[in-house]
């Protein structure tokens, strides 16, 4: 019994060391793209700040990687999140969406925020500063409804 436990531990350790060599994706363009949402609409500074702080990690071409992102398997999970997030909505590529899709996206954003589905709870667990206060939610919602007029 003791022996099995020992082997279990060793194999686990080797796996943990081994997966550190899995190459990580790097989602860092370092520049604000010409197709960024701030070039599509007249986005106020405070709205941009909220978006960058709470959304851009997964919904833009620039992820702000924390130190623990260098550790596997955390990075694998993170890369997967970023990939999925960008596919759904990419603020860096916003200008490339058709008018119809832009409208859909803005509507979806306001719904996700209103129902507190975004930012994802699993993301907020480690990024509590990305949590949207009621005031910040209101700023975003007001901005989105201003686009409808």
């Amino acid at each position: 019994m003791k022996k099995t436990l020992k082997w279990f531990f060793i194999v686990g350790l080797i796996t943990l060391v081994g997966i550190q060599f899995i190459p990580a994706d790097v989602n860092k363009q370092e520049v604000i793209t010409t197709s960024d949402i701030r070039h599509v609409y007249d986005v106020p500074e405070n709205v941009i700040n909220i978006l960058e702080n709470s959304c851009y990690d997964c919904h833009s071409n620039n992820t702000n990687y924390p130190w623990y992102s260098q550790v596997q398997p955390i990075r694998l999970i993170m890369d997967h999140h970023v990939e999925e997030g960008k596919e759904e909505l990419n603020f860096s590529e916003f200008a490339n969406y058709s008018e119809r899709r832009k409208r859909n996206k803005m509507r979806a954003i306001s719904e996700q925020i209103e129902k507190s589905k975004m930012p994802l709870p699993s993301y907020l667990w480690l990024h509590s500063d990305a949590n949207l206060s009621n005031e910040e939610k209101k700023i975003l919602m007001d901005f989105i409804s201003s686009l409808k007029n």
Binding site: S98, E99, R100, R101, R103, N104, R107, A108, E111, E114, K148
Partner: protein, 210 residues
């Protein structure tokens, strides 16, 4: 005693508000029209529309030949709506999967360059919406959120392509978090995919499409 009276009164007020927001009767029609105007303004695409959009309940017609065959798209869309009327999220997801397939194989014919561009944008958006409905078999609210834009896509697609079938553009002021939403139906009778079994008859016919 006083408290009882107040609660009775507020119940009556709430009840009448509730009835007023569900636009079946004639006396709420003006209110609904205003709602509708507002709604159309928001949902309206800035690019070209092939049909005229009036708030009067005129019969709009797609004169000329059909620019494609929408049969399989419409039948999947209708069965999706039927599933949502019955609050059946998993069957809605299945119908939506068929809808994705139908949308992906659709080809318009004899379209102008401009109309062709709009059709591909509509299809792209409709596919995205339908894919979300298909992958959210456990979240009927989210499915219904995507039905809002999907239905606008379908409406606009019919506007360009045309239909031989008599269709109805229905409107419910309570859907979409009380912002109102349309859907397309092949029956004159209202069955509301947004409210489901809680309020299947809420809504009215905005427009007859034929």
């Amino acid at each position: 005693m006083n408290i009882k009276r107040i609660s009775l009164f507020s119940l009556a007020v709430a009840g009448s508000l509730f009835l007023a927001s569900c636009g079946n009767s004639n006396n709420t029609e003006n209110h609904n029209d205003m709602d509708h105007e507002h709604h159309e303004g928001m949902e309206h695409d800035h690019s070209s529309h092939q049909h005229s959009e009036s708030n009067e309940r005129n019969v709009s017609s797609n004169s000329g030949e059909l620019k494609g065959d929408l049969t399989s798209i419409m039948s999947s869309y209708f069965s999706l709506n039927e599933s949502l009327v019955k609050d059946n999220a998993s069957s809605a997801a299945k119908s939506s999967e068929n809808l994705v397939g139908a949308l992906k194989t659709f080809k318009g014919t004899g379209l102008t360059v401009e109309a062709n561009k709009e059709v591909s944008e509509i299809l792209e958006s409709a596919i995205e919406n339908a894919e979300h409905i298909a992958s959210n078999s456990d979240d009927i609210d989210h499915q219904r959120e995507h039905l809002v834009s999907l239905s606008t896509d379908i409406k606009d697609l019919i506007g360009i392509i045309g239909t031989k079938q008599k269709l109805y553009e229905d409107y419910c002021p309570m859907a979409n978090n009380n912002e109102g939403a349309i859907w397309i139906s092949n029956k004159e009778e209202i069955s509301n995919p947004y409210m489901g079994s809680s309020m299947p008859k809420c809504g009215k016919v905005n427009r007859v499409i034929e």
